[in-house]
Amino acid sequence: MTSIRDRAAIIGIGQTEFSKQLGVTEHRVACEAIAAAIADAGLAPRDIDGIVRYDIETNTELAIIYSLGIPHLRFFAGVTSGGGAVCGTIVLAAMAVATGQANNVVCFRARNRGKRSVSGSGKFGGGRPWEKTPPLLPDFYQYHIPFGLVTPAQEMALIYRRHMHEYGTTTEHFGMVAVAQRTHASRNPRAVMRQPISLADHQRSRWIAEPLRLLDCCLETDGACAVVVTSAERARDARHPPAYILAGAQAEGPIHIQMADYFQHWREETGGRAVAKQLYGMAGVGPGDIDAAMFYDHFSPAVLLSLEDYGFCARGESGPFVAAGHIAWPNGSLPVNTHGGSLSEAFIHGYNHILEGVRQIRGTSSCQVPDAELALVTSSNTDPTGAIILRR
């Protein structure tokens, strides 16, 4: 049976500055990040013949190709969802280059969600999706928004509260994730938040939606990230060491936004668990082989659930796992979000995690795991989700 295993590689990464407000449009940040990724790959825009984006991305393929001067695409696709889309873009790009549907595929995410860009779609675009809730709700939203369940923090708070109830997880465990990632970010010059924090700072930060505090929540950032995916054969000639895509998988089960449906299937064989099974099966490796993990972290306890879903600890034991120091670089057994993640580097809807996975494989992270051979990157694991394993 054919698979994408080892058939493709990421050979270019690019990004903009990350900021609370860049003062430029979402169209421009997309162009900047994509141009940087193409240059990093040692290619020119004319070499690009495929684009994969999130289906909620505001920049269309057309907007990208006419700005960058990409003459012609042979492959273009979008992946459903926001944070659930991240690694699915790489899976599609790998499929395209493995089957000859494209040679060099750009995947990207661009968004202006910085603190000073969120107040609507002004001249720079952007804004929080939930602030645009319509006064008359279509079907999908009718069963939760009228009750004041509006934002991702509120939705996820319900899931994490239940985890606390079932397993004895505490908000201190959440805080240990936030502290570890901020410590990682303190070494990262690209990170928006570099000032170290303590567990006491976390516990003192204000409630957003209990049990989530401010310091459990991702940043709101302006910026963009992009990568170039090519075939394993062409990757040998790249400027930088390729990050080969050892395996990739997606899963869509019950979506968290329809909370009722989600809990009907309470995290059994769906979501991250289903992805992990496919992923490790394709890769022929297990959790013990992973050198560093970039987990989607819109909220700090998302890391706890991912540690369990991807088999680094048993169900319900992620709190004690984090308390034992396992996710902290340099001494932990599994350094997590070594760039600072969405909590401290930037929130680019998870795309900066792919770039950091590539840096670990290249050996260029500001929290480099020595001789890292395998890096796991995941999408948000309560939505439609996905993950990839990158290898040296």
């Binding site: 006064p135 709700l137 069963y143 009228p146 009750f147 708070a157 319900l158 957003i208 209990e210 909370m259």
Partner: protein, 141 residues
């Protein structure tokens, strides 16, 4: 609603469609309804056009006991939509109905510190406009 000229933020409201009209009509009549597949009898919520077990399109509306247990909740402080921010902190809750379905709602007549996962609750209806009633839940024995 059309002659409401106040500057108060409006509560976002459901717009019933052909697949869920029975649910919202039931709420208006202060009756919590679950969709029931006419082919296999399975109950479902939220409403949808097809039975996920047998794929039958035919359904009717079964009256729920309106009783259940609190499965999980959050106390929301914000940021949130202005209409809800005005009443923060407030709770949002997922209730597991005795029939086995889950429903998102609020627990009313209960201080935040008294909320407990597993507590028994029963439905009450909040007539938020002349045409829309929302199912809420209050502590029950």
């Amino acid at each position: 609603m059309s002659d409401d000229t106040s500057d108060q933020p409006r509560l976002p409201l459901p717009v019933p469609n052909a697949d869920n009209q029975g649910f919202w009509d039931g709420c208006r009549q202060h009756e919590l309804r679950l969709q029931r597949c006419r082919a296999c009898g399975r109950l479902r919520h939220p409403p949808r056009p097809m039975c996920a077990r047998c794929n039958a399109l035919e359904y009717d509306w079964a009256r729920s006991s309106g009783r259940g247990t609190l499965f999980t909740f959050s106390i929301v402080h914000g940021p949130t939509l202005p209409v809800f921010q005005a009443r923060a902190p407030y709770n949002v809750a997922v209730i597991e109905l005795d029939e086995g379905q889950f429903i998102v709602s609020n627990i009313v007549d209960c201080p935040a510190e008294a909320l407990r996962i597993g507590m028994r609750v029963a439905v009450v209806f909040d007539d938020v406009t002349d045409t829309v009633s929302l199912p809420k839940f209050r502590p029950a024995a």
